[in-house]
């Protein structure tokens, strides 16, 4: 014991509560002096500065790529180069099939998205009507979920042909299961007391469905819209990869097979833009719907 040996202080020190009587007299056993630290502070840059930094990285990367290709550090045949891509982009939009391809891919995606989301949500909601029916069908839905749907794409193309319908079918297959499971999750989360309230007010099954089940599950259904638009686009592109006469997916495949690497980049660029635009549009729709159902 290093603390002065009065009985009270001794007792306190056993509890770890004793204060040193005189700080100048503290010896080696006393705790070392603690370093003085301050809370680390990060200063946030203004938005314009962040934007400039981002732009610099983009421009720098493109310039480096161009430089590397012209000086021969990388093989421009395999990697292409920004100037060639820009040239191809102009050709693609002026004399090429840009708009035909964009419109084809866009339509397959949107139709598949709408069909898969609507049918899936209705299927999920339908499980509310009968527990027996839900119990019977549920294992099949889970099986369907575990199948990699894209593996079925060649079959779908064979059945539905090489036109738009087969791309819509692949996109639908990808989105349907997600929507079904999500809507069903909503149904399962329904509070049985809510149904009890409705029935105590003398409601019919249809009234409970329309006034309770559907509005309750709507936030669930809405929450998958953004996931589904991405899945639908993936489905459409894979469909085009397998067999198609139009579409951005076909353009990428065709360009790759003919070693037109600049065109591959152009198609990927256009595809990404399409994806961003559709994602933004669906996010906007989602926001509107959320305000509509208010939850």
């Amino acid at each position: 014991m290093t603390v002065q040996d009065t009985s009270t202080v001794g007792a306190l020190s056993e509890l770890g509560l004793a204060r040193p009587q005189d700080p100048t007299q503290s010896d080696a056993a006393a705790p070392a002096v603690r370093p003085i630290r301050r809370l680390p502070v990060q200063k946030d840059w203004p938005t314009w500065a962040l934007l400039i930094a981002q732009a610099c990285i983009l421009v720098g990367a493109i310039a480096l790529w161009e430089l590397a290709a012209t000086t021969g550090w990388i093989d421009a045949f395999f990697w292409s180069q920004p100037s060639a891509i820009l040239k191809t982009l102009t050709i693609f939009f002026t004399t090429g099939d840009a708009w035909t391809d964009i419109s084809f891919t866009f339509r397959s995606t949107i139709f598949g998205f709408l069909l898969g989301t609507t049918a899936g949500s209705l299927l999920g909601l339908s499980f509310w009507w009968s527990r027996n029916y839900a119990a019977i069908v549920q294992p099949y839905i889970i099986c369907l979920e575990s199948i990699p749907k894209l593996a079925l794409a060649p079959l779908i193309i064979l059945v539905f042909g090489i036109g738009l319908v087969s791309k819509v079918a692949v996109a639908t297959a990808l989105t349907l299961v997600v929507s079904t499971l999500t809507a069903y999750a909503g149904v399962k989360a329904l509070d049985p007391d809510g149904e009890k309230l409705f029935y105590s007010l003398g409601a019919s099954r249809l009234q409970v469905f329309r006034k309770l089940v559907v509005p309750f599950c709507l936030p669930w259904i809405i929450s998958v819209l953004r996931v589904n638009i991405g899945l639908a686009l993936t489905g459409a592109i894979v469909g085009e990869f397998i067999a198609s006469q139009h579409g951005l997916g076909r353009a990428i495949l065709y360009a790759g097979q003919t070693y037109d690497i600049a065109l591959v980049w152009v198609a990927v660029l256009v595809l990404s833009t399409l994806a961003i635009v559709m994602y933004a549009a669906v996010s906007w729709v989602e926001r509107m719907l959320r305000q509509g159902v208010r939850q």
Partner: protein, 266 residues
């Protein structure tokens, strides 16, 4: 009969469930509710108190037609109403306000389900919302309301369902003590304005006595009514009624029946 039939009559209603046969339950039957009989005249306020598991909620579910009893019948206005829904207003423990509807549209739910046009239903509900303390909340969503306000809205929804009998299952159970007192006064006001026949479930002995004309004390295993105690205190009652010898005598009797020593009672 020379007497008018009671408004609500629970006639030897019992509820048994089949369970697995075990050594201490050779019959394989679980009796949730031993035959219970209640006869409640028009306009009475009647409470059920009892420990959890005494079958209070089972009785309510049976009266509301949400559960088919294994014995007996439920008569409303002398007509057999066993297993029919929409005959009584039923307020469950939770307020169950729909978060996507405004307070006004929540309150008219019963009328809407019964096919009253929305406009007419809203016109009927608005003055009541104003009179009973929900002014300014009509167009808000339930998540903006305090517990007491939500309970008011749920109760008005039950009242606007327009049935003579209403069942209230621990409506104030989740409220803090002070709000609870306010809500009791508010409920008394509503009850005397509307003249409904009320069946009220609570865990709170004092609340039961203060509000009721009659208190039924229930017991468990099987759920049953062990005693019926009339409360003859004059109305309108005031808070100090709870200090009168009559009130305390009833309270003592209830606590004895519930086998709670008075020192432990809240």
């Amino acid at each position: 009969m020379s007497y008018p039939a009671p408004k609500l009559c629970v006639d030897d209603v019992g509820m048994t469930f089949k369970t697995s046969v075990t050594s201490n339950n050779p019959a394989g039957v679980f009796e949730a509710l031993a035959p219970v009989t209640l006869a409640i005249p028009q306009g009475r306020f009647v409470s059920l108190i009892g420990p959890s598991g005494c079958g209070k909620s089972t009785i309510f579910n049976i009266i509301a037609g949400l559960l088919e009893p294994t014995a007996g019948r439920v008569m409303i206005d002398g007509v057999d109403a066993t297993g029919t829904i929409g005959r009584v207003g039923y307020m469950l423990q939770k307020d169950l306000l729909l978060p996507w509807r405004t307070v006004l549209d929540n309150v008219i739910l019963g009328m809407e389900i019964q096919g009253v046009p929305l406009k007419a239903a809203r016109e009927r509900a608005l003055p009541l919302l104003h009179r009973y303390g929900l002014s300014g909340f009509e167009y808000l969503y339930p998540n903006a309301l305090s517990g007491g306000m939500r309970q008011r809205a749920a109760l008005l929804r039950t009242l606007l369902f327009d049935t003579d009998v209403i069942l209230l299952d621990e409506p104030f159970g989740a409220l803090d003590a002070q709000t609870k007192l306010q809500m009791q006064e508010w409920l008394m006001q509503l009850w005397s304005d509307f003249g409904k026949t009320v069946l009220f479930v609570t865990h709170d002995v004092e609340e039961a006595i203060y509000l009721s004309d009659e208190v039924h004390v229930m017991g468990t295993r099987p759920g049953r009514i062990v005693a019926t105690i009339p409360v003859l205190l004059a109305r309108p009652r005031v808070r100090t009624s709870a200090l009168t010898p009559e009130f305390l005598a009833i309270k003592q009797r209830c606590l004895d029946l519930l086998q709670i020593p008075a020192s432990q009672a809240a």
